[in-house]
Amino acid sequence: MTSDTRLLPHSRNGWLMLTAGAVALAIAPQFLPLYYVELGTSALIAAMLALSMQVLVGATGLVSLGHGAFYGLAAYTVYLVSPESAAQPMWLTLPLAMAVAGLAAFLVGLLSIRTSGFFFLMVTLAFGQMIFFIFHDTKLGGGTDGAYLGKPLISAFGATFDLPRRQRPLGIYYVALIQLMLMYAGLALLLKTLFGRALEGIKVNEHRMRAIGYDTYTIKLIAFTLAGSLAGAAGHMWALHRGFVNPEIVGWHQSAEALLMILLGGLGSLHGPILGALALTGLGEATQVLTEVSKAPYVPEKIAALLRLLGERKLLVEGLVILAVVIMLPRGLAGIGSKRLDKSGGGHA
């Protein structure tokens, strides 16, 4: 049978690896210092954003540079309803943030989905920048320096989940992890529906999809809206994690970074963006490790100097790694280890 989407693992082993990865993420905080737990939360949030973008890029073939705006908009929504002095419960802020982001995505989508390819990229960029300017240039969201908000309370069904101060980052980590897993599971189910197949058809050959009778505009609009509201969940999580909003999180750089994570992780799988997000976050940390290593007594001076240089030059390392990936791994990090497939990718038949 050929009814399974190629974005999901094709074999039992694939699913096993994925489960193992999830378990590793679940138990890792037990062994890590608090700072790394918080760094992990940042990585998970980045993964949520990248995963939501994969609905567009990997599943539908739509590349948007406005996606980050929905993420930032959701964080600002939390700021507007949950001021520092009066934190609101998460069961209220999360659906609200997702709804606002989804609504914004719907409106942007209504107009921009008429265009395609590079033009779509630019129109979404334009709309994203309009949202950016709302928060950067008006007083609505605290202006250029950003503003603080009350971190939404982790609560559901009347019970508030609270931990002692030192433990709180742990709780937030798990909230992010659970959301990421739910998002993955939900999208996996979606891709297994007929709708998921239609998305794939659009990605492969949209023109033909219209010719065989698909309303591709509506299908893409649904995907765009859904992706926007999922980005909203990620933005909400950023607000919950940081308690701080800044116009930078609305800017197009967020979209570019999420796209980078997808490309690094691999376009061809749903878990690729998660790998990409973890890798890119880890890379920033790894350069610091290089500096530490350079100080070890047994490292020859020349190598130490090189390590110091790389350790100080986070962007240089990032650039070189990306260059290496794009030249050597055309299918992204998720392509490592899987059998080399021909271009048509028919390994699952």
Partner: protein
């Protein structure tokens, strides 16, 4: 709004628009003929400005800096095409995006390692270091007129080349139908190399020319990259004529916006772009969507 001040603003808009044209014409050519979305184009502009700075600091002459920047552009463009981009034409657009993103980081780090992170001003040549009063209470630096003149001359040369030469004919055809390059009996590799080198040289020239006006500083190409893409999209991908008019339009709107409606100036060009694309999805002079 008074008439003299409006005239002064128009001159500002013209100068800014012409600068945008130099940058975006290279971008649109490279996209039109090679199909490459070059995110590193803003970095090339930055390289040009720093080349001007370094040469002017070493020799004290900006006049020497300009030709050096042009030559560096041709050499740099050829090297990039020959050893990197050539292998990416058949790859997906997104791989090119990733590649050029990596190049941005590498260019910036290279700049940081070799010249440092400080803001440097580049002196205007002594002979031109005076101002010409144009309206009551507002003068215009003579060098700005030079920039306008050089930009116009380069634009004219570019048009002649594209309209009159055989290579130009291929470029025009390729901008409409990329397959055409293979069919016209010129080694496509030569076409690609030439277009990439010319596009790169234009970006470096723009950077060098504008360096005394903008000064040089880290990430100086970032803002211009985005706005140049806006120019390219409004003008229509691959159309040099489109890039010209759209650059002037954006230059004017941006300048007038800053002068008369600062609250919405940042938004104006994006609203314009969204509007144009919804009205004419392939841009004002675009041939293909």
């Amino acid at each position: 709004m008074s008439l003299p001040s409006f005239l002064a603003q128009s001159l500002n808009g013209l100068q800014y628009g012409l600068l945008l044209f130099l940058i975006s014409s290279g971008l649109t050519l490279i996209f039109g003929v090679l199909g490459v979305i070059n995110l590193a184009h803003g970095s090339l502009y930055m390289v040009g400005a720093y080349v001007a700075f370094v040469v002017a600091r070493a020799t004290g002459s900006l006049w020497l800096a300009l030709p050096v920047a042009v030559l560096s552009g041709i050499v740099l463009g050829s090297l990039l095409e020959r050893f990197l981009f050539r292998f990416f034409y058949k790859r997906e657009h997104l791989d090119q995006v990733l590649l050029t993103f990596a190049l941005i980081l590498l260019f910036e780090e290279g700049r940081s390692l070799s010249v440092g992170n400080d803001f440097y001003s580049v002196p205007i040549p002594q002979a031109l270091n005076f101002s010409i009063p144009i309206v009551e209470g507002f003068s215009y630096a003579a060098y700005r007129f030079v920039v306008i003149g050089v930009c116009l001359a380069l634009a004219a040369a570019l048009f002649l080349w594209i309209e009159r030469s055989k290579m130009g004919a291929i470029i025009r055809a390729a901008a409409e139908k990329p397959e055409m390059v293979d069919a016209l009996g010129i080694d496509p590799r030569r076409v690609h190399l030439t277009v990439f080198a010319v596009g790169t040289a234009l970006a470096l020239t723009a950077g060098a020319l504008n360096a005394p006006l903008s000064s040089v500083y880290p990430n100086m190409g970032d803002n211009l990259l985005i706005i140049s893409f806006v120019v390219v999209v409004i003008g229509g991908l691959g159309s040099v004529t489109g890039a010209f008019w759209s650059a002037l339009l954006i230059g004017m709107i941006d300048t007038m916006g800053k002068a008369y409606a600062p609250a919405v100036a940042g938004l104006a060009i994006y609203v314009l772009m969204a509007g144009v694309l919804l009205w004419r999805p392939s841009g004002l002079f675009g041939q293909r969507a």
